[in-house]
Symmetry: C2
Subunit: 216 residues, 2 copies
DNA sequence: AATCGTTGTATCGAATCGATACATCTGTTA
DNA sequence: TAACAGATGTATCGATTCGATACAACGATT
């Protein structure tokens, strides 16, 4: 799950650990703060698997001019206004770049079965849904919808119980409300998706690339 | 966190592992299905700590004393009469009972600082809020409210970003909506709490509802 | 110059997950 | 009746994730 998130972020540019964490927090919006105790092992894992490559940015950076600066300049340009083209990272930063194998792993994980009751995994996949084909996108949404429907049945059954005190009942009611909200959101997404597929016959998958070959 | 949930459930009667899991799912409504890989270690943990006592209710249990079996049969009879259609305790079951030390641990955990961004822990505490004093109850709700307010600021900032595609934006928007919903829920709980403390001098908790049920 | 907050990498133990194994009881159907 | 599927029930394994902590360089404030 973290692997998918990391690969998805690196898909759009090289990043270092701290920045990945930040983007998971506010760019992807939802994920509770990922701890470094998860993040760094995950990065090491991915590097061992050959999905990413870590580049020490402490010395003369051999690749600092390309996509690396493209993604990092927004964050770092303000700090390094003195030097424009080449970064001068005195600090020991480790920038990670996705590999071709990593891109393959990403698409594989993105379309994966998406284990049962996982809200985080689902939101994450929707965040990266532009990398999916329209069919896989709809499949993802519908899978989640049936899951939520089942969940709603359970929670509504719990609502009917008469042995709950005010507080427990309030929690259950609020939970049911949240699930309904999620289902409504899904329905809106599905409707938009069908809308898009009906009007987009000439230009499917706009702005997204399923596989963009980049030399590595 | 799991310890708190287990102790809270055992507070209302002896249970065995499978049943604890079930109640966590639909009685408490919210928790994603707790895996047995968490549950049984947690029970062993609590038993080692002296917070619960496990009673073998199966065949040929050499350590089960006659006294233990005697009291156990009474408990099992009560349990069976309550849930005849659903649960039928027959053989090889291990029923857990909370101890006095466990009750102390429960109240201690229930009033604990409640680590930063934990939605599950909060809902769990609200579910058991009837065991809290009105002051601690309000403190719990207000603590959570400021957390959610901060969270909302972050998420709203993310909403303003212009580099998000439709899907990522939809996720962020929906997340923000969810946080607002949670805050509204908290406000309703807080209002009900103040209401109760002002009118409750003679008639505590008359089986009414905290808030108007939001049906649809 | 001293101190504080932010950025940044890293590791440790414990909690939790997801999968799996195995055994008993119940109801259905061949 | 026998076989089978499915719920109930306990338990453990490896891998993932969490929460706390340590450390270090830098910028800004005072």
């Amino acid at each position: 799950m973290l692997d998918l998130a990391i690969l998805g972020l690196l898909q759009e540019g090289d990043l270092h650990g701290y920045e990945i964490r930040r983007r998971l927090r506010d760019s992807l919006g939802l994920m509770a703060n990922i701890s470094f105790g998860s993040l760094y092992p995950a990065l090491a894992r991915l590097e061992t698997a050959g999905a990413v490559r870590g580049i020490e940015a402490g010395t003369a950076s051999p690749l600092a001019t390309g996509a690396a600066m493209g993604s990092l300049s927004g964050e770092l340009a303000a700090l390094r206004s003195k030097r424009t083209a080449i970064a001068r990272p005195k600090k020991s930063k480790k920038v990670y770049r996705i590999t071709d194998a990593g891109r393959g792993l990403f698409t594989e994980l993105l379309a994966a079965p998406a284990t049962s009751d996982d809200a985080r995994g689902f939101s994450l996949r929707v965040s990266f849904a532009k990398y999916l084909t329209p069919e896989l996108r709809i499949a993802l949404l519908q899978r989640r919808r049936t899951q939520l429907q089942d969940r709603l049945s359970e929670v509504c059954a719990a609502t009917k119980r008469d042995d709950l005190d005010v507080y427990a009942r309030s929690v259950v009611d609020h939970t049911a409300q949240g699930v309904r909200q999620d289902i409504a959101w899904l329905d809106a997404l599905l409707a938009a998706e069908r809308e898009r597929s009906s009007t987009d016959l000439t230009n499917p998958n706009p702005g997204g690339q399923v596989m963009a070959p980049v030399n590595d």
